[in-house]
């Protein structure tokens, strides 16, 4: 399943990236909006897309002015797809014919600008086709004027009606008697109606002839959409210093970031600690303190894998992914009001779907944040260990964050968030008077880095420290300490 829901796009920060892109054309904007990950059988297309972005990144850096002109020209295009669709069945209105003529004029100027850029870039799969004869159809007098009107050269009859109408109009201008003028006005209306009928006939004719060019126009629209998106993807890659991912057989990222969270942290005055991971097929478990960044790590992995498979560069120093056949994410507790399932119930349904995905042997990505957290801890730990074990031997990259002990022993790989391990809690706690201040100090003292754990290691015990730092009510805190 490669269909990513809006909620997951929003939560991982994918929507943030898509929203930050401002396409030049309505075609590009729609393509970006509808971007989905490439399917595993579309690997070749994905590679073409990534190569095209690489060319655009290089081009933008080396001949920025050419790209600026190209983008400026792109921004003149309006959406004519509805008119093209209508054209296949019905005659077009004057305004629709005008829009198509504008498109053709804009296309004529775009072609040389694209060729300049393409000479050094050599984009694959983007070929613009000139449409001069279509333009000639809409500009029979070859005036190359910006406007459109139903020229008399389309029809002799139209020409003669207009001549007749003009003669009446001349007489109206000369007539000083009001009543006589009114009579001429009535006469004029009859000729104007005849003009209208003849224009309709001509419009029908032009629309019919235009049909032959619709496939070429649609081809150009698709190319413009791809060109626009490629440039936008290159621009965002340049903005965040993103890299082209390798398509291989494992997930690996060095110093990966999540722009949404990174920008959010920056506003709060803290830095995003880049994450490096190497995820082979099988299960990986991430453990660590509360507030230590486990969810951040999972969302960052999910975001970057999705982006790479959608034909974007990765927000990392190096990146590598296999082309997954399916991606399943579990972030917040899912709740299904339709079936009135509890959060645990919904998690089990989700798990079942993930379990069926791995059966066909094609690569699957599974990411779950604190699976089974809502049930009793003894059973929860048992369940998580079992799940980790099953996915560990399947052809999937499965990443679980958990607080349950020993889950990591069932996985072939274990990462830990350092958290407050190296902080002097007693000293820190002395300074804190309220929760708000505590939050700041926690953020400052927390080590958000992700480290690979070799050998055995249990979950860190930081919950009590967090309670202290958030200035938890003393009577409760004392009670906890008694049984600790």
């Amino acid at each position: 399943m490669l269909d990513i829901g809006f909620e997951q796009k929003r939560e991982t920060g994918l929507q943030y990236i898509l929203d930050s892109m401002t396409a030049c054309t309505p075609y590009g904007a729609e393509l970006i909006k509808r971007t989905v990950p490439y399917a595993s059988e579309q690997k070749a297309e994905l590679i073409v897309e990534l190569n095209n972005i690489e060319r655009a990144v290089l081009g933008l850096a080396e001949c920025g002015e050419d790209y600026r002109l190209l983008m400026q020209q792109l921004s003149l295009f309006k959406d004519i797809r509805r008119s093209l669709k209508k054209c296949m069945e019905l005659p077009l209105s004057e305004v629709e014919l005008f829009e198509i003529k504008r498109f053709l004029i804009n296309l004529r100027s775009l072609v040389p600008l694209f060729e300049t850029v393409d000479r050094s870039a050599g984009f694959e799969n983007i070929e613009l086709i000139g449409c001069e004869s279509a333009l000639k159809l809409l500009d029979p007098d070859e005036k190359s004027a910006a406007g459109f009107h139903i020229s008399g050269s389309y029809s002799e009859r139209l020409k003669s009606i207009r001549k007749e109408k003009r003669e009446i109009e001349e007489r109206i201008r000369r007539e000083s008697d009001k009543d006589a003028r009114e009579q001429l006005m009535q006469q004029r209306l009859i000729t104007a109606a005849a003009e209208d009928a003849e224009e309709a006939k001509v419009r029908k004719e032009i629309s019919k002839k235009l049909r032959a060019y619709v496939p070429d126009l649609e081809h150009n629209i698709n190319c413009i959409a791809r060109l626009d998106t490629t440039i936008q993807k290159a621009l965002i890659a340049l903005k965040y210093g993103a890299v082209k991912p390798e398509i291989s057989d494992h997930v690996s990222f060095t110093d990966m970031i999540n722009p949404m969270l990174s920008d959010k942290f920056q506003k709060q005055g803290r830095a995003f600690v880049p994450i490096s991971v190497e995820l082979k097929f099988g299960s990986t478990v991430i453990t660590g303190a509360n507030m230590g960044g486990k969810s951040v790590a999972l969302k960052t992995i999910a975001l970057n894998v999705m982006l790479c498979q959608m034909g974007f560069f990765a927000f990392a120093k190096s990146a590598s992914i296999p082309v997954f056949d399916s991606m399943r994410f579990l972030f917040k507790e899912p709740f299904d009001p339709e079936y009135s399932l509890s959060s645990f119930g919904s998690e089990i349904i989700w798990l079942n779907e993930a379990a069926s995905d791995i059966k066909n042997g094609r690569p699957v990505l599974i990411i779950a944040d604190e699976f089974a957290r809502g049930t009793n801890p003894d059973e929860g730990a048992l369940i998580v260990r079992a799940v980790v074990k099953v996915f560990d031997s399947a052809r999937c990259v499965a990443v679980f964050s958990t607080h349950y002990d020993q889950a990591s022993q069932c996985a072939s790989c274990h990462y830990q968030v350092k958290g407050l391990k190296n902080a002097d809690i007693k000293k820190l706690a002395e300074k804190i008077t309220d929760a708000k201040e505590g939050l700041k100090i926690i953020a400052k003292s927390m080590d958000y880095g992700l480290y690979k754990v070799e050998g055995k290691a249990d979950c860190p015990r930081d919950a009590l420290n967090i309670c202290r730092l958030l200035a938890l009510d003393k009577s409760i805190l004392d009670e906890i300490k008694k049984s600790y």
């Binding site: 004057e94 305004v95 910006a146 406007g147 109009e169 009001k178 003028r181």
Partner: protein
Amino acid sequence: MDYKTGRMLLNLLDGYPSVSILGMCKNAGKTTVLNRLISESAGSDALAITSIGRDGETADVVTGTKKPSIYIREGMMFATATGLLPQCDVTKEILFTTGFYTPMGEVVVLRALSDGNVQLAGPSMTEQLMKLKKVFLSFGAGRIFTDGAVSRKTLCDPGICDAAILCAGASCNKDMSEVIKDAAFFTSIFTLDEVREDEIPGGAKLFLRRSGSWEAAADSDAVDEVIRKEHFDHTRRLYMNGALTDSFLKKLFMAGEKGRGVEITVHDASKILLSRAVYEKFTRIKGRITVFRPFRLAAVAINPFSAYGHHFNKEAFLRQMQSAVSIPVINVEDLPDVGYRF
């Protein structure tokens, strides 16, 4: 007035390239004025017309009365909604599609390749009108007429129009004296005195004049408190950076003696959203409104015929209107016919 050339209305608008025709109500006689202006401006600058909302129907949508259509000449530009194009019988050249949508379709800009009738439905948002004006100018328009209504305060925004003609008709009220009082009220709002200031203050809603400069007032919502507590200059002046409303003035009335004789400056007439009653009360306590950006109301055009059946005595209407306002008053129907001598 220039009876020789027939340019009786147009001469009042000399030096104002962008003019709106403001109706005090429906059927106030705007189309008659617009047609007259089009006829009178034959041979002068390239003309462009549009309207705020819909206008130019042969029958009024609300009352069903027969209305004059707008008859334009070859070469003129006009902006209207695509839905009205079938009712425009000029030979058309499409010049530009604006991307502004009305209930009757997108607003498009056209050039008339022949004389003929048009119906207008232009944009209604300030920003759109400003953009449309730019489009007209880019296609070579030298003069723009906008058909509008006094309720569209946007049209007195100096960014959109420099001058206007006010249309007052018998359709506005059965009582002639009420029509005249309303016209006098709008006339005073649209002919407010200009205050010259090198730099218009910003960054706050309300300012007080103190020792020769504008100072932001602490609380813009409670003007009565401001006046009671803070110290004015002897000039007793305020600058309202935003809309001047009834509720603002009503609070001022609560300030008692201190609220008398105050001068309130606003940016331009489009910011004045006052009812006649409140404005009249304000002038009774010697209040005065001034503007940084003046607007020129060139004339009042009267229409003694009502779409609802009652008609005013045209001589009395003209005479009484003339004594109520300080600008020229014209009954277009009584002007010598200029026909369509384009």
